[in-house]
Symmetry: C2
Subunit: 439 residues, 2 copies
């Protein structure tokens, strides 16, 4: 569709009440000049709704297209948590300037900006509803009717005591179902699940998913309510963390933080290169193992034929082992306390797979090359490599996890190298032992 | 903790109102005999709440421990969608017998059992609230108060016309905020986002995540309301699909459907073996490439030293390329229409990374072995392998996706083999061209 047409289409669709998320997608097709044009036509509220649905980097570039004044009035209309996220991407100076124009919400935003992006504090919003313990249900409902438009979610009403400490929670449906005259403290649930502001967002997501919550309150050390995190933000966290794990597990590194379609070729290359360089050095290291057995390879050149299969199988088993462990940890299926039990089982599995594959490759190698001893050498090497790969593939993420390093990165080039080096060393060492029967 | 103590602890915790999800975790530590003992002590309702939070396979084995009569009364207390999921895991005979004892909910469950497990119909529940268009707000609230305990979620009230077709939706907060006397049709949102019963669950999840919904209605061809899917089930779908992608991308295959901690060693080996066998055959194929260049390898044995680095780099770049593409597709960041633009960009990235790494390895090889021509050979081979790996790593998932096959499996052993074979062929072919300068 020609771009000018898209611009007109967006204007028509806004009038028809199209969902902001769909509008944001159309905006994605416009160039900077037209985005500027479009946003000059929109009300602050319309603009805020659309911007909230755009990707981080698009939000930033759009805000920079507008005058400071206009940008600040749009920010004022945005949900506090979204406005904070956007400001978090700007320079310190820009933030200062914009906040000075915002007035009212500036203090809240400043408060939120203090938290790290990937913690409970960083993803919470301050738009929640808290009511005192000692008011009756009908008064609560009246107050809700007045406040509702402002609060991001009113499906849970939080209850606080005279010291403004969080003491309970009532779901909107329990509130509606309750008899008039009942006090909130009589019907509220007292075992509120809450999280501290510095809890990792992944852990928050696990809690919300586990207890099927629609929102979770964030509290300080004195149990005072700081904000809430809603389930839609939790879904984003779950997707973000899965993407991060996938990239790390496949050795794709830190590409996630750029727009995969818009980023420059150079920008992407720079993100992907570090893992490749490590892989390159690892490959050279594995090669040097082969180099150190040059003499035996010279006399029995057929040994080279089995280098790929030894490397591939070690790599595959190692990746399977670390993937299962890392994902099991992430989904909560494996807990810290199960670690060693899991490890012992994985070693058994490795040995079993080593026996099966070792036997298979021994037969194949012996028949293919017509040298029975070669079958023995390759078979033993395969058995040892696979068993060790399962062991290393589980042990290294366990160790990383123990020291608080994301175990997902262990499946990358580091472990590949360790497995290749070990596998090749074992292979050529066994070949050396059997050398006189092979020549 | 000794098991007998755990049993007592659970009984105490139930009285204290511990969350069923935490109770389910404690039950996990009991053996069959004790589970039976415990569940005989519980009321049907308590049992239902705990079972709902247990893993599929644990639910099944527990239900089989109980008498048919007891099992059916617990099923009656469970949420309809959860009861259906559980029955879906049992044999046809068991289902028939249990349903005959359930009466009331049996028809609903039978209806739900018809849908495939991974579709909208398979994850929906029939416990929703639908009200007619022409009643006033206060009547709606009165009805809600009566019905609420039964409906899984009343945060959205669905509105149907005289032909029982879905015509609108009202959030509970809008309902509460509305003036008495207003008719539902006056305040309802008419653009309801709904899904057909056969929509893939992954697509449903994408919709819910995109529009930040708390629930989405499922309708038939005539727009009649069949059920709703709530956001907590969507979170499960997102985690399940991410796990599936992770396993496929890392060549871990279909392990997900077993309990990673409880399954037998043999069971796990059987699940992991198919990918390993493919990998084994792939490795032998790559080896046969080396075998076919045996003569040149015999005279220039040093060539073997660079086999690992060529294989590793090709593998790494190919995995990066397919991972980025597959994950981009899954999260919706890459759409079908962007495919070719993405492909062309990826090829450019491949060439750029090929130049950089080819240059680097050429210098390294030349200096390390003191043979400048060897540097040229390894450098050219590295450049070609990386460029091709990026191309193949993107092209194959594109083709798979085009034909409706999950592109995540392409990063597994299949593509590894294609890349290894191509990389090694190129390497040895170039070496042959330069042979007389190398000896």
């Amino acid at each position: 569709m020609p771009i000018q047409k898209t611009l007109q289409k967006i204007i028509v669709e806004i009038k028809e009440g199209t969902h902001p998320s769909d509008l944001a997608e159309l905006v994605d097709e416009l160039n900077d000049q037209q985005r500027k044009e479009l946003f000059e036509l929109l009300s602050d509220e319309e603009a805020a709704l659309i911007i909230q649905e755009m990707e981080d980097f698009d939000q930033v570039s759009l805000i920079r297209l507008l005058t400071r004044h206009r940008a600040s009035s749009i920010l004022k209309e945005m949900a506090v948590d979204d406005a904070t996220d956007l400001l978090g991407e700007l320079s310190e100076e820009e933030v200062k300037e914009l906040l000075s124009l915002i007035e009212e919400e500036a203090e809240e935003i400043k408060g939120l900006l203090r938290y790290r992006e990937d913690t409970a504090g960083g993803i919470m919003t301050t738009e929640f509803i808290a009511l005192p313990e000692d008011i009756p249900v009908e008064e609560a409902i009246t107050r809700l009717r007045e406040m509702a438009p402002d609060a991001e979610i009113i499906y849970y009403v939080y209850v606080i005591n005279a010291q403004t400490k969080l003491t309970g929670v009532i779901s909107l449906r329990d509130l509606i179902a309750a008899e008039d005259g009942t006090l909130l403290e009589e019907i509220m649930l007292r075992n509120v699940i809450s999280v501290p502001a510095d809890m990792d967002q992944e852990e928050v997501a696990r809690l919300v998913s586990r207890y099927d919550l629609l929102a979770v309150p964030v509290v300080d050390e004195e149990q005072r309510l700081l904000g809430i995190i809603t389930v839609d933000d939790i879904i984003d966290v779950i997707e973000e963390e899965a993407t991060e794990d996938i990239y790390r597990l496949t050795g794709t590194g830190e590409v996630e933080s750029v727009d995969i379609l818009e980023a420059s070729v150079f920008g992407i290359v720079r993100k992907r290169l570090p893992w490749l360089i490590i892989s390159l050095l690892g490959g050279l290291l594995s090669g040097s193992v082969i180099g150190s057995f040059e003499t035996i390879l010279q006399s029995i050149v057929i040994l080279a034929v089995f280098i790929p299969v030894i490397m591939d199988m070690g790599g595959n088993v190692g990746t399977q082992s670390s993937t299962l462990f890392v994902r099991g940890l992430a989904t909560g299926e494996i807990e810290e306390k199960d670690t060693w039990r899991y490890f012992m089982r994985e070693v058994k599995i490795g040995v079993a797979m080593g026996v099966i594959n070792g036997f298979f490759i021994a037969i194949a190698a012996a028949l293919w090359q017509g040298i029975p001893v070669l079958g023995v050498v390759v078979g033993i090497a395969m058995f040892t490599t696979i068993s060790l790969a399962a062991l290393i593939g589980t042990l290294i993420p366990i160790i990383f996890n123990h020291f608080g390093i994301d175990p997902a990165i262990t499946s990358g080039p580091f472990v590949t190298t360790i497995k290749d080096v070990t596998g090749l060393l074992i292979y050529f060492y066994i070949a050396t032992l059997f050398m006189r029967y092979l020549i």
